[in-house]
Amino acid sequence: MSSSISSTPLGIDPPGTVHVTHDHHELGFWRKYVFSVDHKVIGIQFLFTGLFTLLLGGLMAMAIRWQLAFPWTQMPILGKILFPETGGVATPEGYTMLFTMHGTIMVFFVIIPLLTGAFGNFLIPLMIGAPDMAFPKLNMLGYWWMWPGIALILLAFGTEGGGPASGWTAYPPLSTIEAAAPGSMSGQTLWLLALTFSGVSSMMGAINYVTTIVKMRAPGLSLFRMPLSIWGLFIAALLQLFALPVLTAAGFMQLFDRIFDAGFFTPPDIVVNGFSAEAAGNAAGGHPLLWQHLFWFYSHPAVYIMVLPAMGFVSDILAVHARKPIFGYKPMVYSISAIAGLGFIVWGHHMFMSGMNPTVGMVFMTATIMIALPSAVKVFNWLGTLWGARIRLTTPMLFALAFVSMFIIGGLSGIWMASTPVDIYIHDTYIVVAHFHYVVFAGSVLAIFGAIYHWFPKMFGRMMNETLGKIHFLGTFIFTNGVFFMMHQIGIAGLMRRTADPYAYETYAHLQPLNEFISYCAFALLFWQIFFVVNLVVSLGWGKRVGRNPWGATTLEWDAPSPPGHGNFDSQLVVVRGAYEYAVPGEDADFLPQNDPSAVPDGPTHAPHAPTPAPVHASS
């Protein structure tokens, strides 16, 4: 049977319907684990798919690092797979394909599926006290639509000419004219199709999330009682809905250019590697920058899609393991929304050097710099939350703390690039690479690790091993910084990205030792993940069984059994207070579950005469 809520195609029963479950006749294996419509199963499917693609992307990163440390030397292991024809030595075009695929996979098939797909699916219904998503079948569809995307993007490697090679940004005309690069043959077409698939997938997801959050919150769970994870996922879903279609449109235009020679992005009178659009009788007269505008209109909001949910998870993890209410809950919510809103008017900061009208660039700069403001509010409120807390240094907490620390670094380096004159020098140098890996790997991915450790007990009813977890954290934290902090240095030295072999230039020759150091850290980072994988596997089978609420947390998901049965909760929940009632004075428990009717109702969201915590001394 399909989930009882979803028994109608769109889940459009008149509201208030109470279905009686048919839990008893068991589902077959396929319906239960493969084509399941249960949001928990789908979430876990997304989780493992995402980890798998993360491994792929990570391995490609290792190949990149090898080439940068020891250019044109035989690459161990990976070389055999990636460059068989040269006996494991990277080729120039092969390198361009490597980072293109690395970036694409990491952005579209790792971070977004993990954050919104895995945790969005698993957490949203549980955290708002709903039995399932609004449209479970659509949900399942969303998962399965991602697979053609993954298949196509991997297939691209096999096509004649090899995988796409125009960067994850796919700037035309390089990406639209087949003669321009080996990878711009059918590989690029597959790339576009893959993106469309993943786009449709996250579209289905986003519609589902927003509808569920708006329409299916448990009685009493007002918007301003929602956990910040839900807020993060909610706003991220809205970003998807309003930004992604534009990329889809642009993607179709690029497909038109490639398949029908439509020339939207092809300026006239260019001769690319002997090929001339006019001579071939193709349309021309379009503008390359048009693509950049449309692409970044999506892809800048996308970077916030890649961080807002992570921020939400971190806020929740901090509160739970610090046993303290979130400091400034409402400012947190407003800043999430502000980041999202501003995110729509800053995309041009990726185009300062692109030949864009420099006056327009000035406007973009001002808007961009202003985004630091809501981010600042978040950072300071996290510190405020921790101040005067009783922190428990559990593994999830460690990763959450790491996120705060790392996001500050990544965010601050954004300020340089936001300032147009400085960006003249650092655009497309490794400072940019350092910047976005700090926010996206050291930020989002570490937050994802934290979220896995934190919600694993809820997902599988077992704890992950704390000792292994802490070992995993220690190494990951150290090597991550080893890899990415040094990239600032080579960036300031002027090394630009997407360069297969920088050392031919006298300007860069002396940077090889540093690059080698970075690469060694990267390899160590990869191997260190073994502790995580082992921990994952062992805990799945033999981890300590836990109860419903191992961490002593207040939010609704911890009221369900671990793992939650079909329909999630034993009975209808009624929410009586905000999500962060920890250490309430005069209560004997140091946390008050949102749905626990005993004790005081909602605490004031702002205690006017609260003891002033000390960050003020530090931050002024």
């Binding site: 769109l10 319907t17 839990d23 329409k215 609420n549 329909g567």
Partner: protein
């Protein structure tokens, strides 16, 4: 970890035979309708991308050809009329559904589908003629933008038609009651949206 409570079957085991409950929070709008409007918002952004690209290329071009010389405005004007009519018939169908008059639904909805089919066939005819004259997307920017926008609108019309046909079958099965004809309403919303987009496209593609 001191804080971790161990598994206690009495408290922690899932209680069986629990009811699966469903309730409605937030504003008074059906989930389906809420979702469809979200979806329509994304569709708006999608066409904003396509039309935006056209406007940019177009308004930056001095020598843009005169659409009236390249396209059959009269036929398309008639086609626009057809689509608007079908949109109006759709409203009629909804009213019928509201009145619980099934044969009414079938009649009006049937006519709507007829109108839509006519629109598509006329557009297909237009394409065939244009192709015959050797006007392909690769010919020049005018044609590539033309095929891009009208093409994607056309596919939307086809999707809408399929949806309407499903609704018609459902209606024939008597699925729609005066209390609940949401399925029909959603199909209608999509159909009207397709009509709305065409109103804009017709103006900027054929008349500018």
């Amino acid at each position: 970890m001191s804080s971790i409570t161990t598994f206690d079957p009495l408290v922690d085991a899932p209680k069986h035979h629990h009811p699966v409950y469903d309730y409605d929070s937030g504003p008074p709008v059906e989930r389906g309708k809420f979702a469809i409007w979200l979806f329509l918002a994304t569709e708006v952004m999608f066409f904003a991308g396509l039309i935006g690209a056209y406007i940019v290329l177009r308004s930056a071009t001095e020598s843009w050809p005169n659409p009236e010389e390249r396209l059959a405005v009269d036929i398309t004007a008639f086609n626009t009329f057809v689509l608007i009519v079908s949109s109006w018939l759709m409203v009629k169908a909804l009213f019928a559904a509201e009145a619980g008059d099934r044969s009414g639904i079938l009649k009006w909805l049937g006519l709507t589908i007829l109108g839509g089919t006519l629109f598509v066939s006329i557009q297909v005819y237009e394409y065939i003629v244009l192709f015959g004259e050797g006007n392909l997307p690769r010919t020049d920017l005018f044609w590539s933008t033309f095929y891009l926008m009208t093409g994607f609108h056309g596919t939307h019309v086809v999707v809408g038609l399929i949806w309407l046909i499903c609704a018609w079958v459902a209606a024939a099965r008597g699925k729609y009651t005066p209390k609940n004809y949401l399925g029909l309403e959603l199909a209608g919303l999509y159909w009207h949206f397709v009509d709305l987009v065409w109103v804009l496209l017709f103006t900027i593609v054929y008349l500018f």
